[in-house]
């Protein structure tokens, strides 16, 4: 079960900042982090910040102005 970070209600730029902090804390064996956000600008910034830390982002729209971002650690060969 992947860890989930709920940053709903947060003001800018905490959704991105807390995602970056959580990704840095993720231990080596953990492959994915789910982020639940209602802050649309985070959809533009999180993929870049995640990629710089070696994670790929998939965005799922859950409706009602909420999104679920699945960040998966990239393998070495497809890494940054």
């Amino acid at each position: 079960m992947a860890e989930t970070l709920d940053v709903r209600g947060e003001i800018c730029p905490y959704p991105m900042m807390r995602t970056v902090t959580a990704l840095k804390k993720l231990s080596g064996e953990e492959l994915t982090l789910c982020v639940v956000t209602d802050h649309a600008p985070a959809l533009d910034t999180i993929p870049t910040q995640a990629a710089r830390l070696g994670f790929r982002t998939e965005i799922e729209e859950s409706g009602g102005s909420e999104w679920r971002l699945v960040l998966t650690r990239m393998e070495e060969e497809e890494g940054a």
């Binding site: 003001i11 730029p13 870049t48 102005s65």
Partner: protein, 402 residues
């Protein structure tokens, strides 16, 4: 259509119909009210669709090494400069005579510009948005933005109480620099565009030093087989998908040129100060008569004249409403309540700092920056420089308030 989409389209249609009715009603009273209402709707809609944020334009360069918003701002400034330059060249053909364009945001430059910029910069990063940013987020349902707006009104009032000191000790004797006086119209425009291009290159350098930038993945293109399908695709691009930042910046710059052509540059903290002063007057806390404000252009304080409606009121409320309607159509309206108490204090304090800074700086990121650089005025660049410095300080602060 999916049920969610049907719901969004219904709500948005109702909101736009209400916006149209308000336009028609105000048009019967005063055509200027109606025009400012329409501009407000346009600005608010584009800000919301582009997720266009001046605070993150500065902040994200320092915090994330990400230049998305700053690129949009630079494009908007370039479009604005060309349009403003053209209008001003008609208003003041003989620049060497030392005449200034009557309505452009060419303002006295001094310590007040620098301090106003720094305070505004710190405030907008703490509050998570500048004045326009908080206005459109109020329309999207961000509760913290309403708190920031209340702080802004308080800060403007505090600033009004100290205005006469600033006026006597600086603003009244401060120099006013308009680039066309020295360089002529074409020279001033070329220098401004080159400077904007140089900043654009700087943004790219910052991004590439920080690492890669992942572009937003566009929606899967589906070949439209009928005109109807094509139209639906266009409507989706405009009303549902978030806009890319460059077109958003270009449209905002273009709207600013249109408003300047019709009347005056985009800006509204002067109007918000009128609300603050009027509210304070109700409880007998009105600031003293403000020296010199009647002869200054831009977003300088507007003393309350006792009337409720003003054309600028329709611009400010229109921006909020345009964003609200845009958010409904995109399914992005939601009441967002911060869980952490610190966020309310941050929003309020950031709002107060922005209000004080906008008071002495004679404008916010719009009036003193987004409309001032296109006015080919030195004060716009000075304000921008210190806005950046303030945003850097603010970025250090928010990283300590997790």
């Amino acid at each position: 259509m999916e049920p969610q989409l049907v719901k969004n389209v219904t709500y948005a249609t109702m909101a736009w119909a209400a916006g149209g009715l308000i336009y028609a009603a105000t048009h019967r009273v005063d055509t200027q009210f109606a025009m400012y209402w329409a501009f407000g709707l346009g600005f608010g809609f584009v800000l919301q669709r582009g997720r266009f944020c001046f605070a993150s334009a500065f902040r994200d360069l320092f915090l994330l090494g990400h230049g998305r918003n700053m690129k949009g701002v630079l494009v908007g400034l370039a479009v604005g400069s060309i349009g403003f330059g053209l209008v001003m060249s008609r208003q003041v053909p003989m620049t060497f005579l030392g005449i200034l364009p009557p309505s452009a945001n060419v303002l006295p430059v001094g310590v007040h510009t620098a301090l106003g910029g720094v305070l505004f910069g710190v405030g907008m990063v703490l509050a998570g948005g500048c004045v326009s940013g908080n206005l459109y987020r109020m329309g999207e349902g961000y509760v913290a933005s309403w708190v920031a707006f209340a702080g802004l009104m308080g800060g403007l009032l505090a600033s009004a109480f100290t205005w006469n000191w600033w006026w006597d000790n600086g603003i009244s004797t401060a120099p006013v620099y308009w680039l066309p006086t020295w360089l002529g119209h074409p020279g001033a425009l070329v220098v401004t565009l080159l400077a904007l291009a140089a900043v654009f290159v700087g943004v790219l350098v910052i991004e590439h030093r920080a690492g890669m930038v992942v572009p937003r993945t566009p929606r899967n293109p589906v070949a439209a087989e009928t005109v109807g399908a094509e139209l639906r695709s266009v409507a989706r691009t405009v009303f549902v998908d978030g806009w890319a930042i460059i077109p958003a910046g270009a449209v905002l710059g273009g709207l600013n040129v249109l408003l300047f052509t019709a009347q005056e540059p985009w800006g509204f903290t002067g109007e918000v100060s009128r609300w603050s002063i009027a509210a304070a007057s109700l409880v007998n806390l009105a600031p003293p008569a403000l020296d010199g404000v009647a002869n200054l252009p831009g977003c300088v304080f507007v003393p309350s004249d006792g009337s409720f409606f003003n054309h600028m009121l329709f611009l400010v409320v229109g921006m909020w409403f345009g964003s609200f309607a845009g958010a409904l159509g995109a399914g992005e309206f939601k009441v967002r309540i911060p869980k952490r108490r610190a966020r309310y204090a941050q929003s309020l304090g950031g709002g107060v700092l922005m209000g004080y800074g906008a008071g002495i700086g004679m404008g916010c990121t719009i009036g003193a920056f987004f409309s001032a650089i296109p006015s080919l005025a030195v004060n716009g660049w000075v304000f921008a420089l210190f806005l950046g410095a303030g945003a850097w300080i603010g970025t250090q602060m928010i990283q300590r308030i997790q």
